[in-house]
Amino acid sequence: MKRMRPSVETSIESDAIAVEHTLAGDRDAFRVLVERHSRNVYRLAYRMTGNQHDAEEVVQEAFLRAYQKLSQFAARANFGTWVYRIAANYSIDRMRQKKSEDSNRALPPRETEDGTEMDLMSTVPDGAPSPERLAQSGQLATHMRRALSQLTPAERTAFVMRHWGGSGIEEIADALKSSTSAAKNTVFRSVQKLRKALEPFVERRGQARAMGTEL
């Protein structure tokens, strides 16, 4: 009687075993890890970069880097968290590079006197749509995307990791290469800026909903 070979997926039940097999030279074990975690990494990358194309590139690069650095991965750690952190690190580098390229191309350098990233909230164009029109949820989403894109890369990373990724402050500090108190402050600053940019529209929408007039 012919014995059925278990598939790689069923034989590699845990990430730790998949990592062990990959390190022993089994590339198919790494495929299992990629297939298991790529959606989660994609969601992070999309929220970081704000577009699908960049998000997909971040996902690929994160797994390539994870494969290259796999021998440094601590066996007791969580592979999902680890690759997520690699993606966050790569996203922030990529956003900084893009921002720098954009400012070199079209605008004079945007730095404050102390050399830190400039607050781009002050560059919101005039002539924004009226609150009435923004009460429409589609426009609110557009406005939210715009507000997120105007955070600095560090602020956006901190916000996404904290509020959507549920990351701890130490993990965020690690991605930002900063102290934990600086990371906490970056999370706070991101929320503060988003409030400043969006609260009038969010409140207006809440009022419209309460009055039954939301569009």
Partner: protein, 84 residues
């Protein structure tokens, strides 16, 4: 207690604030701060509604197809062969 600063309320909402009990007690008695906290909650709830486009069926397989030709060969060590 004085009204907590914005930073403290954001941290409280986030579950990170030190002195949570003091802030919670203050919130119980202060409609102004309750409204402020509700505004922070509403903002974060609204941000949660931004959709993330689905990457489609078989996304993980697609990622693997894209990266597998770029993966470097992993060198096996002699001790790999001694493992059971």
């Amino acid at each position: 207690m004085k009204h907590p600063k914005e930073e403290e309320l954001i941290a409280y909402q986030d579950g990170e604030a030190t002195g949570r009990e003091t802030i919670a007690t203050h919130l119980g008695d202060c409609p102004e701060c309750q409204a402020e906290l509700a505004r922070i909650d509403a903002l974060l709830a609204a941000l949660n509604t931004i959709p993330v486009p689905e990457p489609g069926e078989g996304y993980g397989q697609r990622v693997w197809q894209q990266i597998s030709p770029r993966l470097p060969q992993r060198r096996s060590h002699w001790w790999d062969f001694t493992l059971p």
